[in-house]
Amino acid sequence: MSLVDRIDPPPARQLFRWDLDKTYLRTDFDTFRQLVKTALEKASEKVNVPGTAALMRELKREETRVLIVSGSPRQMRRVIEDKLRLDGVVWDELVLKDNLGNVLRGRFRAMRNQVGYKLPVLLESRLRYGLDVPETLFGDDAEADAFVYSLYADIVAGRVSRELLSEVMEAARLYPDERGRLLQFFDELTQAREKAGGLVGIEPVRRIFIHLDKLTPPTRFSAYGPRLVPIYNYFQSALVLMADGQLNSLSVIKVALEMVQGYGYNLISLSNSFQDLIRRGIPVSQVAGALAEALTTHNPVLAALLPAPDILAAFAGRVASLGAPPPAPTPVDVDYRALIDDARPRTDKKRRLSANED
């Protein structure tokens, strides 16, 4: 990046927002022991979710912004930044949680609460970049990312009322100052939207990816509509981003290569992942053609690394073996009142009961 670009960067044309734990990094903190281990790990000891480093590198371009908002404590900033640098990732924003402050103030509920922390951070950040910039978010199924990201997307799009937001804040048991902050950003966004004359024809959040770290069945998220795509791995998200026009075929191949070379993925697991998307009605069939073209063009590096005919046969075979492709999922209005249990912390009794009913 040139000095001029650093002083006066070009305006953002696309935002890519990432969570860290269980989304970018393979983190286990379900037990106290794991939590301590995670906190004491060095940057070089942290392990990526396969393909994330390559994907994040491919998403970072001059006109894009890579924004990270994580529930990790602020004290881990240095380790996290070192890890991102080791991965060759360039980021524009890294927000971490003030867990120590919450402990010192006796706000233990705030430590697990995602709505009270992430939603205000997302809204505040969005106010900086403008409402008309398309955004893609990456989260996981461990906490409340699906709910928070979807609600955020609909708030920015102007589809959520102040009344509904208040109900969510009540259900999520937010502290008064968290509620005040959230409502303040909500009002500022409403004003900004009105000033811009609404967001006619613009969908501010195009795609939400939920990494199924806990292998939660994808139908658990169907109430959030087709904007949200549950993914089992990042090859799947790369394929969807390619279908969305956010990535080119070479970038998808780089993600796949990282997964093959570093994490034991193979032709079977990748082609199975591809077929899984098609089975769920996610329209990625057409990207197979573009990938095939990239593989068969005379790229000496790719030719050396990849057995193109085998790859083409595997992917074409997975498509053909399905017969008629299933219909794409239909858009839905997200009923946040019905999904309100998803806003509660994972350990909350009501949320556990709701998950069991599913």
Binding site: L215, P218, I268, N272, R279, L322
Partner: protein, 361 residues
């Protein structure tokens, strides 16, 4: 030691509880067995509907659409004629083409056997295939201390010749060697007496042949009473006798459990006694639970077929897939082929496949 990766085709539409329980079993396998890839063969829409509600790892499974399925009660020949694109036929073709290394089905036994017979080849030297079943005994064997003996044939070949019975013995011994890690399995002929001249002519002749087979320990003829004692690791008989024996063993197990339930209801003292013995009963139940066995191997073809019970639920399907993976990793058909070649003289008769007996197992 890391297991080599293996792909198994699973007939998703076969069985009393298909496709739900079959898909659930495969979903479980995808979570725990990192070396097993499965291909669910059947109605794509129905398989996807089940998959979307259960925890699974789609990286280790794929779906191959088959627009038709053979009903459980259908006549094999007619069914395959009526449903040429049935899931079992497509699955057998995937194994023939090398896309998968083994086939697992809980569907119509006759149709499954016929589909395999029409799609695959018999191992050179084997005239007729045999369906094998394991049953629990009081003896443990092999490096795995396996309590199960293998009984074959249990329904594939109703009339077996002496040569067939000898070939069954060789195939069963190969299976015991690979699956139970029993290097020199004890092989016996099921008859109505232990004397070598007792029984029908084919059994007497088979006795003579088996005495000359290398690599097995032929223990002679055994009677029905010796079966549960575990006198032999591999027991050979024709499909008619084997099927009767298998059903009787299942019946005894079910009757014993019914009697225990009856006793528990009848008297408080008996109930207390049964409660004290509950852990022992649980062990017996586990030992005699057919869902633990993982299905019956169909031996004699150049490809692998594990026939799961028609009433199989997800656990039985999981175990059937594990057995299939183990047998495929060891390349059981090749092992059988090697042993048969040592036993069968050169220029063996032409192969033939008879109409199989319609059995549940």
């Amino acid at each position: 030691m890391a297991h080599p990766p293996v792909t198994i085709a699973v007939d998703a539409m076969g069985g009393d509880f298909a496709p739900d329980e079959i898909v659930k079993g495969v979903a479980e396998i995808s979570l725990g067995q990192t070396h097993i890839n499965t291909i669910l063969v059947g109605d794509q829409a129905r398989i996807t509907a089940v998959l979307s509600h259960v925890k699974h790892n789609p990286e280790r499974l794929s779906v191959h659409h088959a627009p038709q399925a053979v009903p459980m009660g259908a006549k094999p020949g007619e069914a395959l004629k009526e449903f040429p694109e049935a899931s079992i036929v497509i699955a057998a073709q995937l194994v023939r083409d090398g896309t998968a290394k083994a086939l697992v089905s809980a569907g119509n036994t006759g149709a499954s056997v016929l589909a395999c017979a029409r799609t695959w080849r018999l191992i050179p030297g084997v005239k007729r295939a045999a369906l094998a079943a394991v049953y629990p005994t009081q003896t443990q064997r092999g490096s795995k201390e396996d309590p199960f003996s293998l009984l074959l044939d249990v329904g594939a070949t109703v009339d077996a010749s002496a040569q067939d019975l000898a070939a069954f013995a060789v195939m069963g011994a190969s299976y015991a060697r690979v699956i139970s890690r029993n290097e020199i399995p004890k092989v016996a002929l099921l008859s109505n007496g232990s004397e070598e001249k007792k029984g029908p002519a084919r059994v007497v002749e088979a006795h003579e042949l088996l005495r000359k087979v290398p690599g097995i320990e032929f223990v002679g003829n055994i009677e029905g009473v010796d079966l549960p004692k575990g006198v032999a690791d591999v027991v050979v008989c024709d499909g008619f006798v084997g099927n009767v024996v298998l059903k009787m063993l299942e019946g005894i197990s079910e009757t014993a459990m019914s009697l225990a339930r009856y006793a528990a209801k009848e008297k408080l003292l008996w109930r207390a006694g049964l409660a004290m013995l509950s852990s022992g009963f649980q062990r017996i139940k586990t030992l005699t639970d057919w869902e633990e066995y993982g299905g019956a191997p169909f031996l004699g073809f150049d490809r692998l077929f594990i026939k799961a019970h028609g009433r199989s639920k997800s656990r039985a399907i999981q175990n059937a897939c594990k057995v299939a993976a183990k047998a495929a990793a060891a390349d059981l058909p090749a092992q059988i082929g090697k042993m048969v070649q040592e036993f069968v003289p050169a220029g063996a008769e032409e192969v033939e496949v008879t109409k199989p007996l319609r059995v549940k197992k």
